[in-house]
């Protein structure tokens, strides 16, 4: 019995140790103070900006490879490798708005000492557009040609397909582009030139390195240079003392990027001070991070969480005699009513508050466009479909939902069994949680368990979205790295049916026409009007339900400063802008 008691005591003591709270802030124990440790959400792909595009390597590459034009955190452009921002006013953009003449900064050298010239620019754009592995082809598809004028001048011409039919042709060379495209002004031209994928690479090095470029050999002109990549989860950079900018303003001598996929673990290592900065935290316990002395930075982001109603679905779609019917004026059938019933049953505000989903770091979305972008409709102006929107309850309206549900024909109603509407969602915890919340809200509002949540691998969702088979609804998110509305329009443009991005198979001529206007015009006013028309039409047809705009959220070690300038809405950080406070 004594033995037994002693065991119990040992257990209690162990338990005590587990919950012993030692309130210490993050330290720098065993760590080089000159090194900034930055957490990435997953192992980065090769550091080859022309080819790889995910956020993880983008964060690293933007410190190594510079773009011609940059965008500040307030969305204004500034020249990096270009000497000036080309505009029609300064004559560097042709009158028709299609040709951009870029004067390159002189005296810039790559990390290995090679000079930066127009050849490198032409080479880089060629890789973006024509390398078989390139993943940013579509983002840069409006580039018609990039031509070297002299060593320090290039001409970039934008354009569009001569005929939309040519969309089925894969353009694999400049010749193809010249053959199938015609010059045209391009609205987001500066945005894509400022996008990290157009980071300029050294032609000579890339050609010599072959397939090893990006993993073993990485060269750029930026403030940091590549040191080593000892394992897939860790990349080390060091300050480029020969940077054309002022290397003395770069506060941290070294950067270590570490991939960590376990979010609770990210919080742990932030608290212990093993890392300096992270965005893929567990949002749940931000309070605990703050109590432990970490600095939380949050700002509105460019991620929109939204739901999709499949227009091709018999239950919630918009079909007439078996064909899509979205010509602007459509007959309201049973599926229209059910779609609206579901729409009005949803209320994203609770999941914004919910600690394990957004935990308050998001705002309700009133439309399918991110705030601050051209064409974004502020608030809930009367006389528009946005008038129903309310910051507190979103578009949620129990009476309306029930009324729409009551309008269903008895035959249609009889067809609806429990869990008959399939809601497909990416196989990621957060998304499944949101989908389950929606299921629950519809059940509570309509008093009928209508929705079945089916988690799927993302690729499978994209595959099904190409044809619109096998699902009625999708919950997903969109992220606009170019900071231009045109890129958000991909998700509802008729021309992206078949790419899997337009999961609703929404194909409304008014919308399509205005997207085209916005895309191929340089005039702000024209573009803005076009995009407002797009949004108004979208919220009338309701093929989508915008849920929330997710904030960008960073936690950082108290020694890291100038966070507001350095952190972007795109979740990227200009690490060379950070300062050291301790």
């Amino acid at each position: 019995m004594k033995k037994f008691l002693s065991i119990v005591l040992i257990c209690l003591a162990l338990g005590g140790v587990v919950f012993a709270q030692a309130k210490k802030g993050p330290t720098l124990r065993n760590r080089d103070p000159d090194t900034l440790v930055f957490v990435l959400a997953a192992a980065p792909q090769p550091l080859d900006p022309n080819i790889y595009t995910t956020l993880n390597e983008a964060q690293i590459m933007r410190e190594i490879n510079e773009t011609l034009i940059g965008m500040k955190s307030d969305n204004t452009f500034y020249p990096i490798l270009a000497e000036t921002i080309p505009t029609i006013q300064n004559g560097l953009v042709s009158k028709d708005g299609s040709v951009y003449t870029i004067k390159l900064r002189k005296g810039v050298k790559f990390h290995n000492g090679n000079p930066f010239t127009a050849d490198d620019v032409v080479f880089s754009f060629n890789r973006i557009l024509h390398h078989p592995k390139s993943s940013s082809k579509s983002m840069f598809s409006a580039v018609l040609s990039v031509v070297k004028v002299d060593d320090y001048t290039v001409k970039i011409t934008f354009g569009k397909l001569k005929d939309p039919e040519y969309a089925t042709v894969a353009l694999t060379s400049w010749e193809d582009r010249a053959k199938y495209m015609t010059a045209s002004p391009y609205g987001p031209a500066l945005n894509i030139l400022a996008h990290y994928c157009s980071g300029i690479e050294d032609k000579e090095t890339v050609e010599a390195a072959g397939a090893d470029y990006g993993t073993k050999i990485v060269v750029g002109t930026g403030p940091y240079k590549f040191v080593s990549w000892p394992n897939p989860q860790e990349v080390q950079l060091t300050r480029n003392e020969a940077w054309w900018g002022d290397a003395n303003t770069v506060a941290f001598k070294n950067i270590v990027f570490r991939a960590m996929s376990e979010q609770p673990q990210v919080n742990n290592v932030l608290i212990t001070g093993e890392v300096d900065m992270a965005f893929n935290l567990s949002k749940l316990d931000i309070g605990n991070l703050e109590r432990n002395g970490l600095v939380i930075t949050t700002k509105p982001g460019v991620t929109i969480w939204y739901g999709v109603f499949n227009m091709n679905s018999d239950l919630v779609g918009q079909k007439k005699n078996g064909k899509l019917d979205l010509s602007g004026q459509y007959t309201e059938g049973d599926s229209t009513h059910l779609r609206r019933a579901i729409f009005y049953s949803i209320n994203p505000v609770p999941f914004i508050k919910q600690v394990d989903i957004f935990n308050g770091y998001a705002v309700p979305a009133n439309q399918m466009m991110q705030p601050g972008f051209l064409g974004y409709v502020e608030g809930a102006p009367a006389g528009t479909p946005f008038a129903e929107f309310n910051e507190k309850t979103w578009y949620y309206n129990k009476e309306k939902a029930k009324a729409e549900f009551a309008m269903l024909s008895p035959e249609f109603r009889a067809k609806l069994g429990p869990e008959s509407v399939t809601l497909v969602v990416g196989n990621v915890t957060d998304r499944v949680k949101i989908a389950n919340n929606i299921k629950d809200q519809v059940k509570t509002t309509l008093g009928f368990d209508l929705i079945k949540v089916v988690p799927m691998v993302n690729a499978q969702i994209i595959q099904q979205s190409k044809t619109g088979d096998g699902y009625d609804m999708v919950v997903t998110a969109w992220f606009t790295p170019t900071m231009d509305p045109d890129y958000t329009c991909i998700i509802y443009g008729g021309d992206s049916i078949g790419t899997g991005m337009n999961g609703a198979l929404y194909n409304n001529d008014i919308v399509n026409k205005n997207i085209q206007i916005g895309r191929y015009s340089l005039d702000r006013k024209t573009r803005e009007e076009a995009y407002i028309k797009v949004q108004t039409q979208l919220m009338t047809d309701k093929p989508y339900f915008p849920m929330v705009y997710e904030n960008v959220l960073f936690a950082s070690h108290p020694r890291v400063g100038n966070l507001d300038q350095a952190i972007f809405k795109t979740k990227l950080v200009d690490i060379h802008l950070l300062t050291r406070l301790q």
């Binding site: 030692a22 078989p132 082809k137 579509s138 598809s141 691998v457 690729a459 499978q460």
Partner: protein, 359 residues
């Protein structure tokens, strides 16, 4: 390794021994032939492994072509990419390419039979290079865990066996089994929370170059093996302590320490060696979760990522590598076994008795 091997280990090991040929060690050449036979036997096994893994990967709904293209790729570009990657070919053609090679300027490789699977779809690194660079890290973790498991498991097993059903036995059994009864990630979380967050003794990120940071992952990983080794030691020890030669030793007037450590332990450890070998194999494959939690750069996390990303060449290469390692370790254990146990010849010539004896 997760708990899947618990308990089975003892039985598996003996069944394993049973197919060792009778003439083991009788002549040097027999031994050599035996090793050659085991290596030859590896070939159908490896082919089977690749076939099963390839089939599983083939039906996995992920799409590397889509992933490579990024968002909003035009259908034309997508079709082009699938063609380039060879993903549009029928199943058997694709499998054949993995074995015998695929010709393409960007995605081509010589084939598994020629030791080249090209580059990973995701990381664009040469597959075997990545495996070879990350394998030592996993090895460090596994060897550390095995050593810890042996250091703790064997003494606890001995103590439990010398006093079976006593309070000490029960306490030790429960403590050892606790480790094997908790989900690995839970152990890891509690360890991190306690020792990294609150006590600040060990870091929460593991790094192969820093011994201190390896402590928590090694403890986490070794829990399960420790329980298995402890139980194997205990039951083997219990068995041995019943043997006549132990009584002989006592009758000779040997003190209890000599009886336990000289006479009993040496016999009891023979099956433990086999189990330790099997455990080592499973630790190598089983470091996956530990690596993931401690964001440790090992082969395990590469393999899991490869499965999720449908990085078929990477996963095929890695699994083959692990299978070969696993076989080599088992072979080494079998050979080692012969050196430890002088009876090996007679044991194998009466293999039926051995198998029956263990049921």
């Amino acid at each position: 390794m997760p708990a899947l091997f618990i308990g089975g280990a003892g039985m598996l090991s003996n069944a394993d021994i049973a197919f060792v040929p009778d003439q083991y060690f009788r002549k040097g050449s027999v031994m050599f032939r035996y090793i050659m036979r085991r290596i030859l036997m590896l070939i159908p096994v490896l082919l089977g492994v690749t076939f099963i893994v390839f089939s599983l990967m083939y039906i996995t709904p992920s799409d590397p072509a889509q992933m490579m293209l990024g968002a909003n790729a035009s259908p034309a570009a997508y079709k082009q990419m699938r063609e380039d990657m060879g993903l549009d070919a029928p199943f058997i053609v694709q499998y054949g390419r993995f074995l015998f090679g695929y010709k393409h300027p960007v995605f081509g490789y010589k084939g598994l039979l020629f030791g080249d699977l090209g580059r990973s779809y995701v990381s664009n690194r040469i597959i075997f290079e990545l495996i070879l660079s990350s394998f030592p890290n996993t090895l460090i973790l596994s060897v550390g865990a095995l050593i810890l498991a042996l250091l703790l498991g064997i003494p606890i097993g001995i103590i439990s066996a010398t006093k079976p059903y006593s309070v000490a036995d029960m306490v030790f059994t429960v403590f050892a089994l606790l480790g094997a009864s908790m989900p690995v990630f839970w152990i890891a979380m509690v360890l991190i929370y306690t020792f990294a967050n609150n006590l600040r003794i060990f870091p929460a990120i593991a790094n192969p170059r820093d011994f201190l940071s390896l402590v928590l992952p090694i403890i986490t990983l070794s829990m399960n093996s420790m329980a298995i080794i402890m139980r194997m030691t205990r039951s083997s020890m219990l068995d041995v302590m019943q043997q006549d030669y132990i009584r002989t030793a006592r009758v000779k007037g040997m003190d209890e320490k000599t009886v336990v450590f000289k006479h009993a332990l040496r016999n009891a450890l023979i099956p433990v060696v086999t189990v330790a070998g099997l455990q080592f194999g499973s630790l190598l494959g089983g470091a996956v979760l530990t690596e993931k939690i401690f964001s440790y750069p090992g082969l395990g996390s590469i393999m899991v990522d490869a499965i999720f990303q449908k990085d078929t060449p990477q996963i095929l290469g890695s699994v083959c590598f692990v299978a070969i390692t696993f076989t080599v370790i088992n072979l080494a254990v079998d050979i080692l076994y012969g050196f430890i146990d002088p009876r090996i010849k007679s044991t194998f010539s009466t293999k039926k008795k051995l198998v029956r004896g263990n049921q």
